[in-house]
Subunit: 474 residues, 2 copies
């Protein structure tokens, strides 16, 4: 059947099976963020256009709202859909400053909109999953050190393969650029972009662009040496940086980076930690780490990379990027950094912050496309109760209630259709278990239970149904 | 400190403490919908304006998007924010028809936008939480009977006081109106609104409006008799309806309503059901019902009310409304019904459906205002680890990891501040438990644990920390 629908490009929409996978990832993100004390907030989809413009919207192609049949009040003449969650956070913190407790740890998972020309992998609506912590006046570097630990825990649990969290400090770059005579805003920005692009372009291209910025040949060579530290150990990179004498800005950046890199591993559980080990869980077992000692894995997943610049202008210290080792083409799946003053446009207080953002829609789309995420089920229910004898409908519904009470999501097949149709339904939606409600077994207070993947069938007494199914689902 | 923010009216924003409560309600809604096999979908915030217009947008004041610096392609010239989740569902089902399995049970929790003139209790952006089930060609009345059972379970668990789910069938009304000579679309609509408004206006007003529609005095009296059946038992109302001879439409409506009302209680667990009782849960206990036998409570919460008409034109059979018994002014918190053909504008197949929608933002706003929902905590973490001796910071961070591994969300206080400041922070954010990290106790592999509400303090060995805190949090 042909429908008369012309899909809107750039506004992704997922199948029910995919949406279930996405929702599970979102729940894992929420749980992880919350386990560290980040609290959820939500801001309206719109902000005043003037607030968005104040933070710079070049290239973001903001969508402005207008009413279809304009009521003639001007109250929303200049409302626009937010293009990120950072500007809304700034406005939120400024507006509610007096009722918030600082340091304010918040997370926010919402769609954002950008009216870009649609093309593959570019979306006009996509989800961001942000955490940020905002200090009142100051915010110690411990917060910079904690965030990659949270991200590490999260991506380890999503289990999308090995990844590397890369860290840098913008002051190292701005210090370097200043030492080369690049001080104008445009010059620094162009140099940042050159460094940021080094991974996708060639060394020759970087050299050409730095020459265009009138950087001397000797300086270019020195820069390339520094930016080729990729693959070195964090210790070696820090030694190199400490050996250099550039300027105060550079030195501050090196010191900050050293401090953050030194503390970061603390924020990942070490199963060999004697203090830690003595805090066992409720059941007396230590939760088993996935894939070995997390802190040992972290050591190889957390790297200084001096090329990380982050395009956005507002970062002033630590910057992060995260890439999948086996799928570098996906680009950074999680980026962020430190900013000195979140809400300067709105309030007089200095509100420094540090945060990170996962571009969820882009990430899951690419993982689906690459086959790295599977979407095997089109129902959140694990069990279908098939009504074989319509005269026993009431008992079938009752089985559904009791399985739900035992925490097993269960659909009872309500339509009066033959068993063949019901089984096809179970198969197409991907139920794990079908319970058959027929007189023969119900008369003996039993039901036949079919495990759909193995095809195994077993007659189970109703009193054992829930525990049996729990076991089957494990 | 005064911020330079002028809030946008009609776009609600909640405090962190309120947002935590809202998120918990949303999770409960998801869990309940999913336990019955409704699968989550999400549609983009925008639809083509032409699609929205096709379904009637009078009074909805649609927001259209335009780009701030218009790229000059016309591809999104006519995109608008959706004003409900039903039109997007229709478009979704039509567009993905061939890859969906029917009956298609979906739920959808998203904001919707209406450019109404802002006034108290009216929002321009608000969340709807919809469930619908769509049949391919036909959909039996069992689905109409199941939905109020789901809503009953949900609102019982949200625990916002007694409520009444009211049910009617539009065919009863349209049959009656036709018998009075009201057949024009405008006439029927005006009569529907009159009936729908009877609860908030007076009988006199209803009489006046029916007279304006040229309904004869005798007929008006007969109508009022019918619409005064409120408070009667469902059986008495059905008897009255069955005794009336009106027309075929009316009779079909009465039969449908009878069938749905007869089956509805099945879809609520009956703890006295011998079949049900024999399905015990995993741990061998039957999940205790909240406040007695649910089906017995349902009997008094589920009422026929012939005045329920639902303003929207597309309902063709069953209609539902739900009100809080002690807060009738809040109005209907959950409404919906049956429609014969969801997606007629898009596809040729008949796609009948039945569904219901919770207006979440309006509901929680009013419950917060009325003090019926409390928001005591501004953090999702239950435990704060206060760092009393900075030299033991590493061990404090380690305690955080291990509590999290045991499923206890825990924030470690990272900033170097005195204990007084840390306790004020714990108090303001509403942590339940503070664990003190100081040398005196850590040296003996212990920590002091304070229960914030009771003020009780106890020294606990690190190995017993997680189980002890689990007990304290119960």
């Amino acid at each position: 059947m042909a429908s008369r629908i012309n899909p809107i490009s750039g506004f992704p929409e997922f199948s029910p099976a995919q949406q279930l996978v996405i929702d599970n990832i979102v729940r894992l993100i929420c749980r992880t963020y919350e386990s560290f004390g980040y609290t959820p907030i939500e801001t309206p989809a719109v902000e005043r256009l003037a607030h968005l413009v104040a933070k710079g919207i070049e290239g973001k192609e903001v969508y402005v709202l207008k009413r279809a049949h304009g009521l003639d009040d001007d109250s929303d003449a200049a409302l626009a859909l937010h293009f990120d969650l950072t500007v809304p956070l700034a406005r939120y913190v400024a507006q509610h400053y007096s009722s918030l407790t600082f340091p304010f740890r918040r997370y926010q998972i919402q769609p954002v909109w950008r009216g870009e020309r649609p093309q593959k992998g570019r979306f006009r609506q996509f989800y961001q999953c942000d955490i940020d912590v905002i200090g009142d006046g100051k915010l110690p570097l411990s917060f910079d050190a904690e965030i990659p630990g949270i991200i590490f825990k999260l991506f380890s649990e999503i289990a999308i393969g090995d990844f590397t969290i890369r860290i840098n400090n913008r002051k190292i770059l701005t210090g370097l650029f200043a030492s080369l005579g690049l001080r104008s805003e445009d010059g620094v920005r162009a140099a940042m972009h050159t460094i940021d692009d080094m991974e996708k372009t060639s060394t020759e291209e970087a050299v050409r662009r730095l020459r265009d910025l009138e950087v001397a040949q000797a300086d270019i060579e020195r820069l390339l040496l520094i930016f080729r530290t990729e693959g070195q150990s964090n210790e070696d990179t820090l030694s190199l940086l400490r050996s250099m004498s550039v300027n105060e800005e550079f030195e501050t950046g090196v010191n900050e980076l050293s401090e953050v890199v030194a503390e970061a591993p603390l924020h990942v559980m070490d199963v060999n930690d004697p203090i830690g080990n003595s805090c066992i869980d409720q059941t007396g077992k230590l939760a088993p780490p996935i894939g070995g000692n997390p802190r040992a894995r972290y050591a190889s997943s957390f790297r200084i990379d001096l090329r990380i610049a982050r395009g956005l202008d507002y970062y002033t210290g630590t910057v992060y990027e995260t890439r999948l080792n086996n799928n570098p083409k996906i680009g950074s799946i999680c980026s962020g950094g430190r900013y000195d003053n979140l809400a300067g446009a709105f309030v007089d207080q200095a509100l420094p912050g540090v945060g990170i953002s996962i571009g969820l829609t882009r990430l899951v789309s690419q993982l689906f496309d690459a086959g790295l995420l599977k979407a095997p089920r089109a129902t959140p229910a694990r069990v279908l109760v098939a009504v074989q004898d319509r005269s026993r409908f009431q008992e079938c519904v009752s089985i559904g209630h009791r399985l739900r009470s035992a925490g097993i999501s269960t659909e009872v097949f309500l339509a009066e259709l033959g068993l063949g149709r019901q089984m096809r339904y179970a198969d197409q939606k991907g139920f794990d278990i079908v319970v058959f409600g027929n007189a023969h077994e119900l008369d003996r207070k039993c039901a036949k239970v079919k495990h759909m993947r193995s095809g195994e069938e077993k007659e189970i007494s109703l009193s054992q149904l829930a525990p049996f199914i729990h076991m089957q689902l494990e």
